[in-house]
Amino acid sequence: MPQEDVAQFTVRSVQVLAEDETVDDELVPELTDDQLLDLYEQMKRSRRLDERGIALQRRGELGTYAPAIGQEAAQVGSAYALADDDWLVPSFREQAALLTHGTDPEQILQYAMGMEEGAEIPGGKGALPPAIPVGSQPLHAVGIGWGEALQDRDTIAITYFGDGATSEGDVYEAFNFAGVSDSQTVFICQNNRYAISTGVEKQTKAKTLAQKAIAAGIEGVQVDGNDVLGVYRVAREAVEKARNGNPVLIEALTYRRSMHTTSDDPTAYRGHEEEAEWELRDPILRFQVFLENREILDEETEGTIDERIESELADAIDQANKERQAIDPADMFRFVYDDMPSELEQQSDAFEEGVEGDTDG
């Protein structure tokens, strides 16, 4: 039998709004001016939350915080493609996506202040809590997309992870499981170039991360992750495919402009020159010029948006701080089991007595 090629693959890459501000008009998604402004506002809200988060951490008011600065387009553009009842399965850097999908900034702050209240999903649906291990959560999204399909609902799950996570076995298992179970899942890999300090070139020899979908038999597509219109367009298509049981992996090429977390010092592994280069490709800056060129955004509107964000965030910080003062530590016993086992009840009673004992002096 002669040798022959039995399979060939290509990876599509999409960009709508280029770095030099040129626009591919044919690819501009159909969005109203208000929707376009909404995308802009969500990106700014996330940016300001992260800036405030870093400052609060430095003042000792938050624990370790993982900013998404630079990745707002990848997150907002994709989450904007979701319906209200779709599921969002985040890693630990998805403030922008969560805000877009309806999570309050206050909840994000609560989590960063060390309160489980921040991981509680109001109404029990819509998003899973942050996942701290690397790459474990795409499997949960696949389970959700599978469960929704089994119950004949067209709700989908979208899940976020980074370039480093694609080295984890669970992420491949997730692609593969999704494929064989026709799970209603969209995978968003935010290739932000670094897994803490390890560059993507040390993470894989593959030319793209989108092609990791190919081995699992699902579609992989790449998009300029700093182009919010491009991300929205690709995500919109992927969400519709997922609703029909065809999972899609999107690789969003982006850059984490600040630190991995507030415990990290990026100067140890990358130069100022590289950071300056990516500053010019900033997703918010690029989209702002687009909106101004189309006369959708002017200084006054920008001022109104900024004021609204600042006042919302100030309220959220206030509120989260108040709640922190009022937490009940005995809560840690209450949510482990539906029906508290007697040995845990004994530990809980002993804890409560101890607390009372201390108070009584």
Binding site: A119, G123, V142, G143, I144, W146, G147, L150, Y337
Partner: protein, 322 residues
């Protein structure tokens, strides 16, 4: 109407009943569909429930991790891990997500998942087919760890496990799958967290579960003393009260398990007896266990596993102390 079933048939019978009773139950794992599992515990179910019984890729993290998502959508996942040792490939999903999702989401997302797996030695299996990592599971807050020791117990406990709103590790002793039949009632539910006094006695208490319970019952047939045998059935939650009450009566206790001795559940049970019945003890609590070595291949397996002689010797040590 009660039927005389083997343990593996009781598993199947229970899964069948729960699939019929509750549309949200989904049974999945590697090979559970067409061949009905390597031990045939799911045989034929795919024919009756083609939309809720699935063969999955061989990927333990995937099997356990997708359970979190299935549960979040309202399904009740009943997953099979082919052998307990293969769970290690998905242990991170169990520890990092399944066990914690209720507490970290303050009860808004729960995982009523049952993870069934054959465990333990004595069937001359391959390497890594004979372990019993029960202490590790019991150490993870949020999980419940259940050990059936007979066909009827299997039905009663598995029914409760599947209906339980929290995750359950269901450890099926491979050695007992086909070793004997007993009457298994149609409707049968045993609450989790309640021990069973299998034999009543006054001189010494022996605590054993799973396949070691059978060994213990064989062993005590030849013991002159009056032995009380307790099957805790669940290691978490552990029915401390039943054990402690028995020890208060007998003053002596032997714990039997096939897992390694160090940091095994025998240590935990001993500690609880010390906490609650120290002044009643007439002898140190004895442990008869596997050794702190990897479970050997089958040529040496019988030397590793506690047998009737070792159990009887443990009982003698407890009886003869002081």
């Amino acid at each position: 109407m009660a039927e005389r079933l083997r343990m593996v048939e009781a598993v199947r019978d229970t899964l069948d009943a729960e699939l019929a009773r509750d549309d949200s139950v989904v049974v999945y794992g590697e090979d559970v569909g067409r061949v009905g599992g390597v031990f045939r515990a799911t045989q034929g179910l795919i024919n009756d429930y083609p939309d809720r019984v699935f063969d999955t890729p061989v990927a333990e993290a995937g099997i356990i991790g997708t359970g979190v998502g299935l549960a979040a959508t309202g399904m009740k996942p009943v997953a099979e891990i082919q052998f307990q040792s293969f769970l290690y490939q998905g242990f991170h999903q169990l520890a990092q997500h399944v066990a914690r999702i209720r507490s970290r989401s303050r009860g808004t997302i729960t995982c009523p998942m049952t993870i069934r797996m054959p465990y333990g030695g004595g069937i001359h299996a391959l390497e890594l087919h004979s372990e019993s990592y029960e202490a590790g599971f019991s150490h993870l807050p949020g999980l419940q760890v259940v050990f059936p020791s007979s066909p009827a117990e299997t039905k009663g406990l598995l029914t409760s496990a599947i209906r339980d709103p929290d995750p359950v590790i269901f450890m099926e002793p491979t050695r007992l799958y086909r070793s004997f039949r007993e009457e298994v009632p149609d409707q049968h539910k045993i609450p989790l967290g309640e021990a069973r006094v299998v034999e009543f006695g006054d001189d010494v208490t022996v605590v054993a579960w799973g396949s070691m319970l059978r060994k213990t019952l064989d062993a005590v047939n030849d013991v002159e003393a009056s032995v009380e045998v307790i099957d805790p059935r669940t290691l978490y939650p552990l029915d401390t009260q039943t054990i402690v009450e028995s020890v208060k009566k007998t003053g002596r206790c032997v714990v039997v398990h096939e897992a390694p001795k160090t940091a095994g559940m025998g240590g935990e049970i001993t500690a609880r007896i010390n906490e609650e019945a120290f002044l009643y003890l007439e002898a140190p609590v004895e442990r008869v266990t596997g050794y702190d070595v990897p479970v050997p291949l089958f040529a040496r397996e019988d030397d590793y596993l506690p047998d009737e002689d070792r159990i009887r010797n443990g009982i003698s040590r407890a009886l003869e102390f002081g």
